[in-house]
């Protein structure tokens, strides 16, 4: 597993802070790798048979097994420990961030203030446009997504970047490093999809929606150095961090604080719009609005690609995926389980013939994930 890249916008870790992060990694590895399969086993061996005995039939949906599963002692312990491991994960990242925040804020200000070299020959710099008047959508305010305290939008101090610092290291720990040294796996995956399915495309104007810390945005900017790349998100602290991080990595991206349901870009501004596991963090009303906005922003012939996580096929798979909904504040994930993404895109104005809901397992060296029949990416693709 390649080490997480310690760029300028990440704090150092003291001995105990590092040990806490290391422990969280070990604990989560065990809970996900060793104990979570046990939850499937208790379902097959006792919860499902008991249901059959009571009802005279097999369960037909995940909601039917929610009660008996949450009453199963093995599942209860696994679930409670999984929840606590997620809290410990954030705590282990928040501690060093809080301790080194003054320095991180200084570094952020320095990185973001840099202009093109005096001679004019320096590389182009990215930009950041914040909108303090932007209303943070309810799907961010209702509960802190993934239990990250304060979510992506809370400023704890002036020009705060802490939410971004915490998110960057947090998702690295969450996936046990599988996202790659720059949390680049999702960007790499969608890029691989584009190159496999649309090899001739050379986008010149790219938009990444719900870009958070710009980890995937950087992948697109590097892949298409001639393109102008924009990243939007509703959270100011993650965007400040994204800007500083991109500059630290030497990549020019134009970030702006905008709601993807209604942006201020002109019609037809982009020939490629992407998102990376963002749609399942939105809402029933927001989703078709976002897809409609994508359609407005696409130039004729333009393409949108949304990377999503499939949410299980069997009753127990669906139930286990939706652990995230009820225990990890992925509040919209449950609705996404039964969703018809093509129909959602059609609500956004795309004709059915222009929409493709695809599955994708990338053939990538960077794919450190263990792809199995249970895990592949889902991609919503549509063109204008």
């Amino acid at each position: 597993m390649p080490a997480f890249k310690a760029h300028a916008m990440q704090p150092s870790t003291l001995l105990d802070e590092q040990a806490r992060q290391d422990f969280v990694g070990a604990l989560r590895g065990h809970l996900s790798g060793r104990l979570m399969p046990g939850a499937y086993k208790v379902y097959e061996s006792r919860v499902e048979p008991a249901f059959r005995a009571r009802q005279g039939r097999a369960p037909i949906d995940q909601d039917e097994i929610r009660k008996p599963m949450t009453q199963d002692s093995f599942y209860q312990f696994w679930s409670a420990m999984q929840r606590r491991s997620q809290e410990l994960l954030w705590e282990s990242v928040i501690d060093p961030t809080e301790r080194e925040l003054p320095e991180l804020l200084q570094r952020s200000a320095r990185l973001r203030a840099k202009k093109i070299g005096k001679s004019g020959k320096g590389r182009r710099r990215g930009t950041l446009r914040l909108n303090p008047a932007l209303e943070i959508p309810r799907y961010h305010r209702a509960a802190d997504i993934h239990l990250q305290p304060g979510g992506y939008h809370t400023d704890f101090t002036t020009d705060d970047v802490s939410a971004g610092v915490i998110y960057d290291k947090g998702i690295n720990l969450y996936m046990g490093g599988a996202l790659g040294p720059e949390n680049n796996l999702m960007g790499d995956t969608l890029l691989a999809y584009l190159r496999e399915k649309h090899p001739a495309r050379q986008p010149k104007r790219i938009l990444d929606i719900g870009c958070a810390i710009g980890n995937s945005t950087v992948v697109w900017a590097r892949a298409f150095p001639q393109a102008r790349v924009h990243g939007i998100d509703v959270g100011a602290p993650v965007l400040r961090y994204a800007h500083a991080r991109a500059e630290a990595l030497g990549v020019a991206i134009d970030f702006s604080q905008q709601n993807a349901e209604a942006t201020d870009f002109a019609d037809g501004s982009f020939d490629l719009i992407v998102s990376h596991i963002v749609l399942h963090e939105t809402s029933k009303s927001a989703l078709p609005r976002i897809l409609g906005e994508c359609r407005r922003l696409l130039a004729p012939g333009g393409l949108m690609l949304h990377l999503e996580i499939p949410r299980g096929r069997t009753v127990i798979e669906k139930f286990m995926h939706n652990w995230e909904s009820y225990n990890n504040n992925e509040t919209f994930a449950r609705y996404m389980t039964g969703i018809d993404l093509q129909a959602e895109a059609m609500k956004g104005g795309f004709p059915a013939a222009d929409v493709l809901v695809d599955q994708f397992i990338p053939k990538l060296d960077v794919a450190q994930m263990n792809y199995t029949e249970h895990f592949f990416w889902k991609i919503l693709a549509a063109h204008r």
Binding site: A19, R84, W90, E91, I94, P149, F156, I166
Partner: protein, 146 residues
């Protein structure tokens, strides 16, 4: 357990002056208060067991598990460094006694450790105090879906 020595609480002008020098509370040169980040996520925490006490105990157990792992790592680091530098053999660690300063530092560190362990209890107090938490996760899911 040895009784801690009683400290003199008597305030003399010299002591008060020293205290003022140590704590320039509103001096314009004083460093700004450090930024405190949130440690608790917004949203209703599920109850996993029929008895909420079990939730708390498991919460504490995992935290304790973490801190023990941290301590073992640190101790291992120290012992390896000391052995590598030929400063100390493991056998010498036995029977060591802290001096007053070391003892005081340990008291403070232990206090912080207990605070961290007792978060499970404080969370409930914070909920009682009312932090605008939704009543249930179902409510949050329904609100977001709508």
């Amino acid at each position: 357990m040895p009784k801690p020595k009683k400290k003199s609480t008597r305030s003399t002008p010299a002591v008060a002056a020293a205290a003022r020098r140590r704590a320039p509370a509103h001096s314009p040169t004083a460093a700004p208060a450090p930024v405190r980040l949130a440690r608790v996520a917004k949203g209703k925490k599920p109850q996993y067991f029929s008895d909420p006490a079990i939730d708390k105990l498991l919460w504490m157990t995992l935290t304790l598990m973490e801190e023990l792992s941290v301590t073992r790592d640190r101790l291992d680091t120290v012992e390896r460094l000391l052995a590598a530098k030929k400063v100390l053999r493991r056998a010498e660690l036995e029977g060591w006694q802290p001096d007053a300063k070391a003892a005081a530092e340990r008291v403070a560190a232990r206090g912080r450790y207990v605070d961290r362990m007792m978060r499970a209890m404080h969370v409930e107090l914070e909920e009682i105090a009312g932090r605008g938490m939704p009543k249930s996760e179902e409510e949050v899911v329904a609100a977001v879906e709508s």
